[in-house]
């Protein structure tokens, strides 16, 4: 109940931002919503279920291209977005069956390779995807502010939907099964948890929303290319956000996305040419000193203070 309240209030607050006509602020807001979607999605498989997936970029890119190809064939935008989610989800179920048998590093590498393969396939299927030339998506004939508001609301809507599903999963049987698998997969099996099905479900969930996010992103920037949408950073960033926010927690990924975007933007603006290194320092510091995420660390510190006061 408390979680739904947080979601409601959050949606309202972030929704109000859409009234702003500041395109830059809206652009940041859209990025934030997209990051939140990707982080939440990754949390299903990486956080809750404990499988270190590097396949987010694969789903994101697959969604972006599915939608772009359909729109190039004169399909409406909404159809493209829906199809993106279905294709990405379906693909995850299909590929998940074999690769989810792998664990640890092996799974990490296999999931990483999927994105690499998809990128090359898209790159070489020039007739359909334009190959390295990339694809243009139809421009909307709307004033810039209205476009910015529209895409912000769409991405925010997706983030809210993802969060709602995450809340349901977290409190439900599905999330319970994910956690059992994360804690001890063998023990979960003999307790009657159908680990293969649940793992595949977690992988599928992590794909659907990432795919739609890719599709919305494509229309938002109206140009996609393989090097960009299959960029490995799309796999790494959500992971860093979830680590920042607290692995396996419900709202941690959103919190992590906010902090990450703020840092990224600050670093990007102020450190021309060395922002990668600054980001690296942050990541290293986080792993060494905040391994359980900001949210958890805040809680710990708060508890200390309360403990001292009492």
């Amino acid at each position: 109940m408390r979680d739904w309240l947080i979601l409601g209030v959050g949606t309202l607050l972030f929704g109000l931002l859409a009234l702003s006509g500041d395109t830059y602020l809206l652009r940041l807001g859209t990025m934030l919503a997209m990051y939140a979607v990707l982080a939440m999605s990754w949390n299903f498989i990486g956080g809750m279920t404990g499988y270190p997936s590097f396949a987010t970029a694969a789903f994101f890119g697959l969604g972006a291209y599915t939608s772009a190809i359909l729109q190039a064939a004169q399909m409406p935008m909404a159809v493209g977005w829906a199809a993106a989610g279905l294709v990405a989800g379906g693909f995850a179920l299909l590929i998940g069956l074999p690769i989810l048998r792998l664990k640890g590093h092996y799974f990490a590498i296999a999931s990483l390779s999927i994105g690499e393969i998809l990128r090359e396939v898209v790159n070489t299927s020039e007739e359909i995807t334009g190959g390295g030339m990339g694809m243009n998506l139809p421009l909307l004939r709307l004033p810039p502010e209205v476009q910015a508001q529209a895409f912000y609301l769409c991405m925010l809507g997706l983030a809210v939907l993802t969060t709602a599903v995450a809340i349901l999963v977290h409190h439900g049987r599905l999330g319970f099964a994910f956690r059992c698998i994360e804690q001890n997969e063998d023990a979960a099996t003999v307790l009657g948890v159908d680990t293969r099905t649940f793992k595949t479900a977690a992988f599928g969930l992590s794909a659907v929303f990432s795919g739609v996010a890719g599709a919305i992103y494509g229309n938002w920037v109206h140009y996609i290319e393989p090097l960009d949408v299959f960029d490995i950073m799309h796999s790494v960033k959500p992971l860093v956000m979830v680590l920042l926010g607290g692995l396996g927690t419900l709202f941690g990924p959103i919190f992590g996305a906010i902090v990450f975007l703020a840092l990224e933007e600050a670093v990007w603006r102020n450190f021309l040419g060395v922002h990668a290194a600054v980001l690296g320092v942050l990541i290293v510091a986080m792993v060494l000193f905040l391994p359980r995420g900001l949210a958890t660390s805040f809680e710990q510190i708060a508890r200390r203070f309360r403990g001292k006061a009492a």
Partner: protein, 252 residues
Amino acid sequence: MSALLTLDGVSRSFGGLRAVDNVSLEIAPGEIVGLIGPNGAGKSTLINVVSGVHPATAGRVVFDGRDITRAKPHAIARGGVARTFQVVQPFPNMTVRENIAAGGAFAGRIASLKQAMQEAGELAAGVGLGDLVDQPANTLTLARRKRLELAKSLAMKPKLLFLDEVNAGLNPAEIDDALALIRRIAEQGVTIVLVEHLMKVVVGISERIVVLQNGALIADDTPEAVLNNQKVIEAYLGKKYAAALSAEGGGP
């Protein structure tokens, strides 16, 4: 009365090693069976074969009228076979209640998670963990973890329960408590296979004892008969010592 579990010529090999070798065995509903054998005799492997963790490489396993030789572990668990692990395997960061509820929610087929949590509380009280339901499992002592393991299995509402060395590492008083608990479980109609390498523990409680050595079944009889079985004595004590013992005319 037909058997609850039937093993028919079951073998399990790892590479060249035959951990379970052509074992045939029947277990009737309601029995308490002791499964004993020296370390490395293949007891745990046999449980793994039945519970589907390491499926048989030869032979057939029939449980409750269904062939489960190739079934997946989770399906076997849902079918009514529960087991504890020799090395306890709780979900370390989950609470006692959640640990137990997992058994109920997945193998025990309780549709509502709330219901499973509630029943978990009752089961925890039943094994003496009533005060600790909201503690994370990794904070429990070994003896309590073993009880947790038991409660998890019970939550699965099993027809057949394998208890793999539930008494190992416990002191005599704790062992007595555990045995009492096992009797109570048996009274509720659960068929129990008690796996031990200590003969002493099983003799008092089992109606029948099965002995494995080097993966093969060497005895399947009443406790008294097994205790006097030459092959069993040899298996436990070595040939030379067993021969000396029987010459003196004494028994263990």
